[in-house]
C-alpha cells in the first residue's frame, strides 16, 4: 500500500506534482513519469510524516530527475527535515518559491502556519536568520509571534543547494 499519494500534472514539459501522505519506506515513486520534464514543481504542503528510511528513497527519486526542481508551499515539516538533513534534496540545487512559517497566536492559544513567498525581501530576512515579518492572526486579527528559534528554522536559507525565487510559476494550460 502506497503511503504517499502523488498527483502529477504534466503540461508543456513542466511537471506539477502534489504530494500527500508519508515519505516513508512504503512510498513509491516509480509511476511519477517525470524523467522527460525540463522543470518539476513540487507542492509539499501535504507531507505529514517523514522517517529516516523514507528519506533514503526520496533522495534516490530526486537524484534521478533530469529537470530542475522547484518547491512551492514547503511545509514546516519539510523545512525542519532540510535543517536536520542538508542533503534532503540530494545532489540537486532546488529553487524554493514559497514556504510555511510557524507562528503562534497568544490570544487564540494556537499554532498557525503561514505561507510566505520567497521574494527578495523575505529571503534577505531568512538568510540573516530572521523571520520575514509578523502577520496578523486570521481569526482574531491579533499579532502573531514566530513559534520556534528563528536562527534554527531559517538555517537552510544559507545552504548552497537551496535557491529562491518568489515569482509565481504559472501552470501551463
Amino acid at each position: 500500500m502506497d503511503s504517499l499519494k502523488i498527483k502529477v500534472d504534466l503540461r508543456g514539459g513542466v511537471g506539477h506534482v502534489d504530494f500527500a501522505g508519508s515519505i516513508d519506506e512504503e512510498a513509491r515513486y516509480d509511476r511519477t513519469n517525470l524523467r522527460e520534464c525540463s522543470k518539476v514543481v513540487f507542492n509539499l504542503e501535504g507531507i505529514e510524516l517523514i522517517n529516516s528510511t523514507g528519506i533514503q528513497k526520496w533522495i534516490a527519486f530526486i537524484d534521478a530527475l533530469v529537470g530542475s526542481v522547484f518547491i512551492e508551499r514547503c511545509s514546516v515539516r519539510i523545512v525542519n527535515q532540510l535543517n536536520m538533513f542538508p542533503g534532503f534534496f540530494g545532489k540537486k540545487v532546488v529553487t524554493m518559491k514559497s514556504l510555511f512559517v510557524p507562528y503562534f497566536c497568544e490570544s487564540c492559544d494556537e499554532s498557525k502556519h503561514v505561507l510566505v513567498s520567497c521574494d527578495q525581501k523575505s529571503v534577505e530576512f531568512m538568510k540573516s536568520g530572521k523571520c520575514p515579518g509578523l502577520p496578523n492572526c486570521n481569526q482574531c486579527s491579533g499579532s502573531l509571534e514566530f513559534d520556534g528559534i528563528e536562527k534554527k528554522y531559517f538555517a537552510f536559507a544559507k545552504y548552497e543547494n537551496v535557491a529562491f525565487d518568489g515569482k509565481e510559476l504559472l501552470r501551463v494550460s
Partner: protein, 282 residues
C-alpha cells in the same frame, strides 16, 4: 579537560543548527572553558556533551549553559530512576503522577501502523503545538524500525537475520518474541517506550551513528544499504529526553519523553537529554 571534536569551519553554511561535540572527563575548569567557548567564533554551535562519567558536579555545570543541548553519559540519576521503574514493571502512578494510556505487544513490523491512530487519539484532547503527534509518530517509526530490523539476533547462528532486509518488508519475529510499546502520560511529559527482547545493540555504534549524523556532513545519510543510519539522530532531534537501556542478550528499552507544550518554542527551549546505558548479561 575538554577535547573538541568540532565541525570544520568550511561547513559554515550549516552553522545555524550544527553540533559541537565535547568530551568531558572532569569538572575541573569545565565552567571556565565553557565560558571561553561562548566567546569563541564557534559559539553559534549547539553543544553536545559526551561525559565519560556520570557525576552530578559535571551535570550541574553543564546545565548552567543553555548552549549545551544534550548530555550523553553512562547514567543520569533522575532518568535512571524512571528507567528502573519501567524495567521492573513497577509503574507507581501515584509516585510519579504518571499513567499508562495504552500498552501493546506486536510481532509484525506492519502492526506498528495501527499505533499511529492510537497516538493521535491519545493526544487529541491535549493542547499541544501543531505537529506534536506527528513528531511522536515519526519517533515511533524509528524505534520500531530499529526493533524489527536492527535488534533481532539469532543466538544459534550468531547473526542478525533482518538487518539487511529492505525496510518495506513485513518482518515477523519468531519464537513468540514480541516488541512491546506503551504510551504514558505524566504531569509534564508524554513518554513513548519501546522494548525489544534482544539486547543486541552496541552503545558504541549508537553513539557513532549519532555523532556522524549530528555533524551533518556529506556522509550524514547512508545512500546504500537498507538503513540510512540517522534513526537515533532523528529521535534525538524530535524528543526531549531519551534513555536507552541495553541488557546484553536480554532486552533493549528505548524511552522517549516529549515535553508537553502548546508552543514549539517552549518545547525547543527545554533542551535535550540522552542517556545510553549498557549492562552485561541479564
Amino acid at each position: 579537560m575538554i577535547n573538541l571534536s568540532s565541525i570544520p569551519k568550511d561547513q559554515e553554511q550549516d552553522l545555524g543548527s550544527s553540533y559541537l561535540l565535547l568530551e568531558v572527563h572532569d569538572s575541573g575548569g569545565l565552567a571556565r572553558e565553557l565560558e571561553i567557548l561562548r566567546k569563541d567564533p564557534l559559539s553559534h554551535f549547539k553543544i553536545l556533551a559526551l561525559c565519560e562519567t556520570a557525576r552530578d558536579d559535571i551535570f550541574s555545570i553543564l546545565s548552567d549553559f543553555p548552549e549545551v543541548h544534550g548530555i550523553l553519559s553512562p547514567t543520569n540519576t533522575l532518568v535512571e530512576r524512571r528507567i528502573k521503574r519501567i524495567l521492573g514493571w513497577e509503574r507507581n502512578a501515584d509516585e510519579a503522577g504518571e499513567k499508562t494510556l495504552w500498552e501493546i505487544g506486536i510481532r509484525q513490523k506492519r502492526q506498528g501502523n495501527d499505533l499511529k491512530p492510537m497516538i493521535q487519539e491519545s493526544l487529541s484532547k491535549a493542547v499541544l503545538y501543531e505537529g506534536y503527534a506527528e513528531d511522536m509518530i515519526t519517533v515511533l517509526a524509528e524505534l520500531l524500525s530499529n526493533a524489527f530490523f536492527n535488534a533481532p539476533f539469532d543466538q544459534d547462528t550468531r547473526t542478525f537475520p533482518f538487518k539487511r532486509s529492505p525496510r518495506d518488508v513485513n518482518v515477523t519475529l519468531g519464537d513468540q518474541k514480541q516488541v512491546k510499546v506503551w504510551l504514558t502520560e505524566g504531569p509534564q511529559f508524554y513518554s513513548l517506550t519501546v522494548h525489544d527482547p534482544f539486547g543486541s545493540l552496541e552503545r558504541r555504534v549508537l553513539l557513532e551513528n549519532l555523532e556522524r549524523a549530528a555533524k551533518r556532513q556529506h556522509d550524514q545519510l547512508r545512500k546504500e544499504g537498507p538503513g540510512s543510519g540517522v534513526g537515533l539522530y532523528t529521535i534525538f532531534e524530535l524528543a526531549t529526553e531519551i534513555s536507552v537501556t541495553i541488557h546484553t542478550g536480554v532486552s533493549t528499552l528505548f524511552e522517549c519523553s516529549f515535553y508537553k507544550a502548546s508552543r514549539k518554542r517552549n518545547y525547543m527551549e527545554m533542551g535535550k537529554n540522552l542517556v545510553i546505558e549498557r549492562h552485561e548479561g541479564g
